[in-house]
């Protein structure tokens, strides 16, 4: 690592995320220090690593407590802290606390994070940069009359949403003008109860879109590049199951137009590091034909994401290392014209759940864990698991991600099927059978699906 870098970096995360951050640190010559809970203190991925015990297994008293995390980073003499994804990664308080205590937060500046974390300011910013929005109200609605006016102008059905909302709460649908008053007041009341903020805005309810997102990377000097899009339409309850790049249905014109606007938006907010803009690919104006669809901005995730390896495999870049470098003050090592996106990449998230029993969580000991063949680097597995690893009940159920690259989508599907069939996971139930069913299905292979149902898997 060149001069002006971090020597010790605190990893404020666990499992697969911590293992990925540490791998980048090893490459950059940085010493990672893991903050761990009691449940993870002896996990295989912490072997031979420096650790600080944060608290008991329960996340609220370990990974989710910013005081413990920053104090631990400080006493471990770390000059940087990486939040990974999940847990505190989008918490501006953690970013601000790091700044206060002389620790570089590996992520965007706290104010960029706070701006994109608020619903209508984020949408305003995106619109000004030229991104297309989901039609709806201009910001929060003052009263029922304003709600009626906005709903009639937009066209039914519409969705009322809490300004400070999340997790599906404070949301109500109105399909007719008579339902507006009820939907507006109910959404507002629920928003006060859940978030202490009754402000509500409105969007057109777009059913049956696809989820497409764009990966961006920025340095402190206003240089921004995109690393292509990812199609994450295969979901269950808003949890992504399969991601791929390129999107098999997005038109080249819509792709290029949105890439340019996404880069402008990233520049305008003074963003630094890796981020993702999430879009709904909406084909309601083209009779369900996604190849004529429009990408409509939903939100920006101000962090690296679970599915970032999809873009790494396609571009050959190491996004994690690049993110650490730019947050240490370095310039982006690459320019847009030198980023070549090659072939087709698919990622499957393997969870310790039983898909044939309502996705019942299946924690416990993984007695045998054997990885698939790497096929000359075209198959990659990101994991923290090894034979004998015990999946603790406290955290989410991801045990590994399998990522494959090939020249075409068909070949990538074939390669993924081969990889999943040759993997061995014994001791816990996994979602591998579900992935094989999806990959084999006509609906998936011919792109006849949207976010409402899993292709090739019964609802």
């Amino acid at each position: 690592m060149p001069a002006g870098s971090f020597h010790r970096l605190f990893v404020a995360n666990r499992g697969e995320v911590a293992a990925r951050i540490a791998r980048a640190c090893d490459q950059l010559g940085i010493t990672p220090v893991f903050g761990v809970s009691e449940a993870d203190a002896h996990a295989p991925y912490t072997e031979g690593r420096e650790t600080v015990l944060l608290g008991p297994g329960r996340a609220a008293q370990s990974y989710l407590d910013p005081m413990r995390v920053v104090q631990a980073a400080k006493q471990a003499r770390c000059s940087a802290l990486h939040p990974g994804w999940g847990f505190l990664s989008e918490n501006p308080v953690l970013a601000a606390m790091c700044e206060q205590h002389g620790i570089t937060f590996v992520g965007p500046p706290a104010q960029a994070m706070a701006l994109m974390g608020k619903k209508t300011p984020a949408k305003d910013t995106a619109r000004r940069a030229g991104l297309t929005l989901i039609p709806g109200s201009n910001g929060v609605l003052a009263d029922v009359a304003a709600a009626r006016e906005a709903a009639e102008r937009t066209g039914f059905p519409v969705l009322f949403k809490a300004e400070s909302g999340g997790g599906g709460r404070g949301m109500r649908i109105a399909r007719h003008i008579d339902e507006v008053e009820r939907a507006f007041t109910d959404a507002s009341a629920e928003a006060i109860a859940a978030f202490g903020d009754g402000r509500v805005y409105m969007e057109k309810l777009l059913e049956g879109g696809r989820h497409v997102e764009i990966q961006v990377l920025a340095d402190r000097y206003g240089h921004v590049v995109h690393v292509g899009e990812r199609d994450c339409t295969v979901q269950r309850n808003h949890q992504k199951l399969i991601e791929e790049s390129p999107s098999p249905v997005l038109s080249p014109e819509e792709r290029e137009r949105t890439f340019a606007a996404a880069i402008r938006c990233t520049q305008q907010i003074g963003y630094v590091g890796a981020g993702t803009m999430e879009f709904l690919l909406d084909a309601s104006g083209s009779a369900g034909d996604f190849t004529k669809g429009t990408l409509r901005f939903m939100e920006m995730n101000t962090r690296l994401q679970v599915e970032h390896p999809v873009s790494e495999m396609r571009s050959g870049l190491d996004l994690m290392s690049e993110m650490i470098r730019v947050c240490a003050g370095h310039r982006l090592a690459i320019t847009q014209d030198r980023i070549a996106l090659r072939g087709h990449v698919i990622e499957c998230r393997i969870n310790a759940e039983d898909p044939s029993d309502g996705f019942r969580p299946s924690p416990g000991e993984i007695t045998r864990f054997v990885l698939p063949d790497a096929e000359g680097g075209e198959v990659r597995v990101d994991t923290h698991v090894a034979s004998g690893y015990v999946v603790p009940p406290f955290y989410d159920s991801l045990i590994c991600k399998v990522i494959v690259r090939a020249d075409t989508r068909e070949l990538a599907i074939e390669r993924m099927e081969r990889a999943l069939r040759s993997m061995v996971v014994e001791g816990v139930k996994t979602t591998i059978p579900m992935h094989l069913a999806i990959l084999a299905s006509d609906a998936f292979r011919t792109n006849r699906y949207d976010t409402r149902a899993i292709p090739g898997w019964p609802a």
Binding site: T51, L53, G55, R58, M67, R360, P361, Y395, D396
Partner: protein, 202 residues
């Protein structure tokens, strides 16, 4: 709650964690921080007394001896003489011999073990967080004195952010039984196979 002591300003007070090892009581740090002023060998400690201070992000937390613990310090934190020793959650502050002072340990663990020894118990099939009611304001699934039947929901176990209903029944349990005691508290972390309900046959 801010308090002052010997010219030091403490933003809060926290009880040290305690764990019994071979008849000795080990006082441990409740969270990460810089430890100062840990008790030295030979000192007598009693419940509620100060047993060190923890600096967390520039503010001081007073560490006190938890309820029911008293005794003589027989071993100290290995770096006690450092001005500021970084400690993680669960690191040793001091080791106490409760028998070295009259009126040593009082009740600690063991209560639930006594209640379950030899008796009929229902054990959770899942490990996770235990809830005895369907939502925070609802009636509990079972109360002491209730008669429960095979298949009846008796608890929710939260595993990986998902709530799972756990129902009564299993090998060696009668089709109906009366609830004698609930052995865990709302929100406790439980392991698969832990005893949850103490039962009496009808």
């Amino acid at each position: 709650m801010t308090t002052h002591e010997n010219g030091r300003r403490f933003e809060q007070e926290l009880a040290a964690l305690v764990k019994e090892v071979d008849g000795l009581l080990v006082l441990r740090a409740p969270r990460p921080g810089f430890l100062r002023d840990a008790p030295s060998k030979g000192r007598a400690l009693r419940e509620g007394e100060r047993c060190g201070e923890l600096e967390v992000l520039g503010t001081l937390t007073k560490l006190v001896v938890p309820a029911g613990v008293a005794g003589l310090v027989v071993d100290e934190n290995e770096h006690r003489k450092l001005a500021r020793k970084p400690v993680g959650y669960g690191d040793v502050i001091a080791v106490i011999d409760p028998k070295a002072v009259a009126g040593g340990v009082s009740a600690s663990a063991g209560a639930s073990a006594a209640a379950t020894s030899g008796g009929l118990v229902w054990k959770t099939p899942l490990g996770g967080r235990y809830y005895g009611r369907p939502s925070p304001n609802a009636e509990p699934f079972v109360k002491v004195g209730d008669v429960i039947k095979t298949g009846q929901t008796v608890a929710l176990i939260e595993v990986m952010k998902t709530f799972n209903r756990a129902s009564y029944g299993g090998a060696g349990l009668p089709p109906e039984a009366r609830v004698e005691r609930v052995l865990v508290k709302e929100g406790d972390d439980v392991n698969a196979g832990d005893a949850i309900l103490a039962l009496a046959p009808l």
